[in-house]
Amino acid sequence: MSGFWQARATLRLAGILAVAVIGLSLGAMGLQYRLVGDRLVAQTRAVLAADLDGLAALYAQRRIIALRQAIEYRAAVDVAGEMLVLADRGGRVLAGTHSVWPGLAATGEGFAVAGAVRFVADGQAWLGVSRVLPGGFPLLVARALTPVEATLASLRRGILALALALVVAGSAVGWVAARGVMGRIGRINALADRVAAGELDARLPGPRSHDEFGLLEGHVHAMLDRIQALNRATHRLSDSIAHELRTPMHRMMQKLARIEGQAVADDLRAEMRAAVRVFDSLLDISRAEADQGAGGLIPVDLTAVAAGVWDLYTALAEDKGLICKADLADGLWVLGDRTLIAQVLSNLFDNAIKYCAAGDSLTLSLTEGPDRHVMRVADTGPGLPDDIRGEAFERFVRADRDRARPGHGLGLTLVRAIAARHGARLTQPAADRGFVLEIAWPRLAV
């Protein structure tokens, strides 16, 4: 899952880079397009100004007659891309390239190019001025914008083609770059996944490259070596402790057996059993913590284990006057260690029976969830005292209240360590009274 998100992140980065490069290129091309467009329009405007100057000179010589002659002459030649129309007071066309006034209303006087407007006539765009000459003669002078628009259109086509090429090239470059990075990160991720699955001795094959990735791989390897060494030391230490402590205790036990009929010998045996239990618990805790996330778990019928331990303990609880109630969903499986799960329940029930009084209730429920099965153990006893709330799961933490009771403050620590070994989540839901603990076991993927 994490590998997938990592891949997504790399692709996203490559995408952002590609989009940025493409965006900048398109922006630059857009600016150029505008400059070219403005320049072409300015050129057309200059031509229009020259036309107007010429007409103004003719008008200055012989007024309307000269204009009319010049326009008729020009219309006869029929220069494409040029529009010249002169009308009389009644709107009738006197001379021009068009026999009908093209519709641009005449405003203002004189032959200045200022105020030239873009308009559409004959299905094409024009830049022109329309004036009323003294005596009420409307005059229209315009130049076609067709060449300008054709140039801009081909420029647009060029930009579009270039943009498409950029998108393709950018994506390709981004993809290649992302794949390179993803491949390097993916190797490390795959290694981390293998280690998380319990393969502590997994390492990346081949030599390290001399770059940041090689450095990262080197760091990861160094950390894994250290974890593996610590883990091995924990395992070796716990076996040695077991051996070195149990052997002398064993000799004591054998010698005690020769003392017959003395109550003190029985007491001593019980004390020794309790001592063995304490260091067994400590070893179980450190082993479960060291094995956290490691493999070696098998499918376990959680319902069956819970029902078995519940059956074992309810007899004792009922004898003590507790009201026992269990609600177990059928056939819930988890990946786990049957003995460890049974130890969790055993510790929790032991505590409940130890601290609850007659009339209290003890309930166990097991409910199926979408990705976790929730095991809930609740009693209505005194609950955790305030002075240890928050640290009740630490080793050897016991409430002042309970000093007189037997116990070593390891039960809940073991519960937590075993839950962590299984990737289960521990929560203590709020309750009015008593001790409530929920353990959410990851369900077995089918």
Partner: protein
Amino acid sequence: MDRILIVEDDAETAGAVARAVREVGCLPVVCGTLAEGEAAAADDFRVIVLDRMLPGGDGVAAIARIRAGGAGALILVLSALGRAAQRVEGLEKGADDYLAKPFEPDELRARLRALLRLGTVQALDNDLLAFGELEIRLKARTVHVKRAHVAVSPKEFELITYFARNAGQTVTRMQLLENVWNLHFDPQTNVVDVHVGRLRRKLEQAGSAAIRTARGEGYVFAPLGLG
């Protein structure tokens, strides 16, 4: 006389085990290393008491080799590696029983007797186990005392069946927990006592004093006044 092989490097422990072996009426043979033990295992022994942390290796790892060598003996692992996980590991790797050090001699004797008995009593495929007035019907899973039906829970039925298979011998609490509940750790409280107590009261009410407390370690099922 039946012989029992003891593979144990600690002389004192080996001596204690040998004493227990003689007390159950067998002849002890002691080996100090794993290699010696494996070589000796080919002989005819009823039970092999096997240590784990031995000169030459882990006894549990040798179980498969011993079995492959054709030894028909039952194997009791006796080890300082006594955490629940290690006991389960030993049993999964083929041990017939697993006892953690330090052990009490009573416990070891009970285990040895149970194994010796397991070797002789073949699978109880006959339906009826009868002990005088007390009858256990395996297929119907019912218990009768003096022809009267005694209502027992499923767990109590398994309990009385286990007792019946070891009739006349001391059965320890730990044995009950391991064999009837299949739990391989030592609970803080004697949860088993309550169950045995209930079964015992039911039988007594029906008129059978079959289950008695054995001095110290456990219980004896002796419906005919045995033990």
